[in-house]
C-alpha cells in the first residue's frame, strides 16, 4: 500500500451546510474520507455586539445582548445584569432572584432540547428532533406568558426582572415539570441504548482533560471529560447555593459522554426549577434602579455564569460618571470549544465532524458575537 500514492483534497464544510449549526465554516483537508487537518473559519455572524454595547447605556445593553447567544437569551440577560449590579452595588430582591433561577434553568432545558434535536438530526435520526421541539414549545409558552417573547426575552433586567409572572405560570410550569422526566426517559429510550447511536458516538471526538483545560473548554463538554466544574457550584452567583442538585460528569470525554451529561443535566435543571417554585417567596421583583440616570463608578469587573454551553462571561470597564461602559468584552464558551475542535477531529471521518460538532453544542452567535 505504501507506494500507492493518493492525493489529499480540500473540502469546504460550511458556511452553507445543513449541519454546521449556523454559518460556521470548516476547511477540511481530507485523505479519502479521513480528516488530516481541520481549520475553522469564523466571522460570518459577526455583529460587533461589544462595540454596540459601548455606545449604549447599561440598561440598553440588555436587549442587544439577547442576540449574543440566542438559544439562552436569559443567561445573556443575567450575566450582564449581574455585572452591572456588582458595579452599582445593587441588591436584588429575593423574589426576583428566584424568578431568575426559574427562567435560567428553564432556558437551559430549552437550549439542551435544541441540542438534543439537532444532534439526533445530524446523526440521521429524524424523530427526536420533533419530540424535543415539542417540549421546548411548552417552555417557550411559559416565557411568552411571562415576558411576551419567545426567543429574545429581555426579561432579566438590572436590579431584578421586568415583570412578575402571571397567575397561571406556576400551575403550567408544574404540569410541564411533572411530565418532563418521563419525556427525557422517552428520548433516552430512542437514543441512549440504540446500538447505532452508540457506535456513532462512543470513542468519537475524545477530548482529554489536558486539552479541555488548555483550551478553556467549559460547561458540559468539560464535565464530560470527568472534571467536576460548574460555576453554579464553584463560583455561586444569584442564589444557586440554596438548591440541591447533582453535577453529572462523564469519564472519557467522547461524544457519548457529552450526550449523557447533557441528558442528565436536563433532569437536574428540572429539579432546580421544582425547588425554586416550591420556595418562591412573595415580595418585590425589582430593586430601585433608574436606568435613565444611572452612572457607574469607575472600575472594571468580570462576571460569569454557567449557561447551557459553558462559562458565559462579560467584562466591563467603566468610566466614572458615564452612562455608557468604556469597554465591554463578552466571553462565549462556543469560541473555545470551536478552537479545540480541530485537535479532536484529526483522524476521524467526515461523518464524525457533524457528530462532534453537534455534541460540543457549538452555536455561531456565541462564537462570533
Amino acid at each position: 500500500m505504501a507506494d500507492l500514492r493518493t492525493e489529499e483534497f480540500v473540502v469546504n464544510m460550511g458556511p452553507h451546510h445543513p449541519s454546521t449549526h449556523g454559518v460556521c465554516r470548516f476547511v477540511l483537508t481530507m485523505d479519502g474520507e479521513v480528516i488530516v487537518k481541520a481549520e475553522p473559519v469564523i466571522g460570518y455572524l459577526h455583529r460587533a455586539l461589544e462595540k454596540i454595547c459601548e455606545n449604549r447605556t447599561y440598561a440598553q445593553c440588555i436587549p442587544v445582548l439577547d442576540r449574543f447567544e440566542y438559544c439562552t437569551s436569559m443567561s445573556c440577560n443575567q450575566v450582564f445584569a449581574l455585572a452591572t449590579e456588582k458595579l452599582a452595588g445593587i441588591e436584588v430582591p429575593e423574589r426576583a432572584e428566584y424568578l431568575r433561577v426559574i427562567m435560567l434553568e428553564l432556558n437551559r432545558i430549552a437550549s439542551h432540547l435544541i441540542w438534543l434535536g439537532t444532534t439526533s438530526l445530524d446523526l440521521g435520526a429524524l424523530t427526536p428532533f420533533l419530540y424535543a421541539f415539542r417540549e421546548r414549545e411548552d417552555i417557550l409558552d411559559l416565557f411568552e406568558m411571562t415576558c411576551g417573547q419567545r426567543l429574545t426575552y429581555n426579561y432579566i433586567r438590572v436590579g431584578g426582572v421586568a415583570k412578575d409572572i402571571p397567575a397561571e405560570f406556576i400551575p403550567k410550569a408544574k404540569k410541564f415539570l411533572s411530565t418532563f422526566d418521563h419525556k427525557v426517559d422517552d428520548y433516552e429510550r430512542v437514543l441512549t441504548e440504540n446500538p447505532i447511536f452508540i457506535a456513532r458516538n462512543q470513542n468519537i471526538g475524545v477530548m482529554s482533560q489536558e486539552l479541555a483545560i488548555a483550551y478553556g473548554v467549559s460547561g458540559p463538554n468539560l464535565r464530560a471529560t470527568g472534571i467536576k466544574f460548574d460555576l453554579r457550584r464553584d463560583d455561586p452567583y444569584s442564589i444557586y447555593d440554596r438548591f440541591k442538585f447533582d453535577i453529572p460528569t462523564g469519564q472519557n470525554g467522547d461524544c457519548y459522554d457529552r450526550y449523557r451529561v447533557r441528558m442528565q443535566e436536563m433532569r437536574e435543571s428540572a429539579k432546580i426549577v421544582r425547588q425554586a417554585i416550591e420556595q418562591l417567596p412573595e415580595g418585590e421583583i425589582s430593586a430601585k434602579f433608574n436606568p435613565l440616570v444611572f452612572k457607574a463608578p469607575a472600575g472594571e469587573l468580570y462576571s460569569r455564569i454557567e449557561n447551557s454551553r459553558g462559562e458565559m462571561g462579560v467584562y466591563i470597564q467603566s468610566r466614572d460618571k458615564e452612562k455608557k461602559p468604556l469597554r465591554v468584552k463578552l466571553r462565549g464558551s462556543s469560541y473555545n470549544h470551536l478552537q479545540a475542535m480541530p485537535h479532536v477531529l484529526v483522524g476521524h471521518k467526515i461523518a464524525d465532524v457533524v457528530a462532534v460538532m453537534a455534541s460540543l453544542d457549538i452555536i455561531m452567535p456565541d462564537v462570533d458575537r
Binding site: 473540502v11 440521521g124 420533533l130 419530540y131 437514543l191 440504540n194 447505532i196
Partner: protein, 329 residues
C-alpha cells in the same frame, strides 16, 4: 413461439406495470411523508387535495418546471446519463415479479407476470446491482466533492452488503430448488410454508441488505444530507433529480415486492383477489421501511462495511451450511 398476441399481451402488461410502479413511487413518497409525519407528532402534507393526496402530483409538476442546471465542471454526457442509468434498472427488475395468479382472457392463458424467467432471482440481483452505477457515475461526473464522496460511499456500500445479499437467499433456493419467482410463490401456498418461517435468519439478513441496497435509512450514506449535503445528487435539479428520486422509490417497491414474493407468500392469501394481497404485502413492507427511517440514526459507512463483512457475511454462510445440512438430514 412468438406470436403477435404474445407481444400485445406483453406490451399491455408492461404498460400497466410501468404505470402502477410510477404511481406507486409517487404515493410511496406520500406514504413516507404522511407516516413519518405521524411518527413525529405532526400531520404531514395535507393541503394539496384531501389528505394531501395530490401532493406527489404537485411535486412532479414543480420539478418539471425547474431549471435544469449543469455545473460547468461536470462531465456533461455522463452527468446527463447517470439519472437514467439509476432509474431504468429500478423499473426493469419489476419484470419478473409475479403479482397475481394465471388468468384466462379470451381463451388466452395470461400469467400475471411480465416475464417468467427461469432465473428470476438471478435476474433481479443482476439488474438491481446496476443501479449503483447510476449513483457512482452521478457522483463522479458532477465535479463536486460532496457528490464524489457520495458516489464513492455508494460503491463502498455496494461491496459490503452485496455478498451477504446474494447468500441470504441461497437457503431459500436449497429448499425451493428453483430460481423462478413464479415457482417460489407456488411453493408457499400454506401460511406456514412461507419462507419467512422456514428461513428466518435468511429473511433478516435479506431485509438488512435490501435496505442497504436501496440506500435507505439507516444506510443512506451516499446521500446523507447532514454530512454530504445531498451526496451524489447535490448538483442535480429538475427532472434529473426526480429520476434519482423515483429510482430510489422504485427500488424500494421492487425490494418490497421481492421480499413479498420470496418470503411472504407472494400474491397468495385468502378471500381477497391475488393482486390485492400482493399490494397489501408490498404496502406493509413499505410502511416498515418508513418506520425504520423514523426510528434509527444513520450508521457510518465503515461501520456498514464492518457489519457486512464481519457479521452479515459469516451469518449468511452459516445459514447456507445449516440449511443444507438440515435439508439433507
Amino acid at each position: 413461439m412468438i406470436t403477435t398476441g404474445f407481444i400485445i399481451a406483453s406490451a399491455i402488461k408492461v404498460i400497466v406495470v410501468v404505470v402502477a410502479v410510477l404511481t406507486g413511487c409517487a404515493y410511496a413518497t406520500w406514504l413516507e411523508r404522511k407516516l413519518v409525519g405521524h411518527i413525529q407528532h405532526r400531520i404531514g402534507p395535507n393541503l394539496a387535495g384531501p389528505f394531501g393526496l395530490l401532493q406527489p402530483i404537485a411535486d412532479a409538476i414543480k420539478l418539471a418546471f425547474k431549471e435544469d442546471i449543469v455545473p460547468e465542471r461536470a462531465e456533461r454526457v455522463t452527468y446527463a446519463l447517470a439519472p437514467i442509468v439509476a432509474f431504468i434498472p429500478a423499473m426493469l427488475s419489476f419484470a419478473v415479479i409475479p403479482f397475481g395468479d394465471t388468468i384466462t382472457i379470451m381463451g388466452q392463458q395470461i400469467d400475471m407476470v411480465i416475464s417468467d424467467l427461469n432465473i428470476g432471482i438471478l435476474y433481479i440481483f443482476a439488474i438491481t446491482s446496476l443501479g449503483v452505477y447510476g449513483i457512482v457515475l452521478a457522483g463522479w461526473s458532477s465535479g463536486s466533492k460532496y457528490s464524489l464522496l457520495g458516489g464513492i460511499r455508494s460503491s463502498a456500500q455496494m461491496i459490503s452488503y452485496e455478498i451477504a445479499y446474494g447468500l441470504s437467499i441461497i437457503g431459500v433456493l436449497i429448499i425451493a430448488q428453483t430460481l423462478s419467482m413464479k415457482e417460489l410463490v407456488a411453493q408457499q401456498a400454506n401460511f406456514f410454508d412461507w419462507f419467512i418461517f422456514r428461513q428466518p435468519l435468511g429473511f433478516v439478513l435479506f431485509v438488512i441488505c435490501a435496505i442497504a441496497e436501496t440506500n435507505r435509512s439507516p444506510f443512506d450514506m451516499p446521500e446523507a444530507e447532514s454530512e454530504l449535503v445531498g451526496g451524489y445528487h447535490t448538483e442535480y435539479s429538475s427532472l434529473r433529480f426526480a429520476m434519482f428520486f423515483i429510482g430510489e422509490y422504485a427500488n424500494m417497491i421492487t425490494v418490497a415486492a421481492v421480499v413479498t414474493t420470496i418470503f411472504l407468500g407472494g400474491w397468495q392469501g385468502p378471500l381477497l383477489p391475488p393482486v390485492v394481497w400482493f399490494c397489501i404485502k408490498v404496502f406493509l413492507f413499505m410502511a416498515f421501511y418508513v418506520w425504520i427511517r423514523g426510528t434509527l440514526p444513520r450508521v457510518r459507512y465503515d461501520q456498514l462495511m464492518n457489519l457486512g463483512w464481519k457479521v452479515l457475511f459469516p451469518l449468511a454462510l452459516l445459514n447456507v451450511v445449516v440449511t443444507a445440512l438440515i435439508y439433507r438430514l
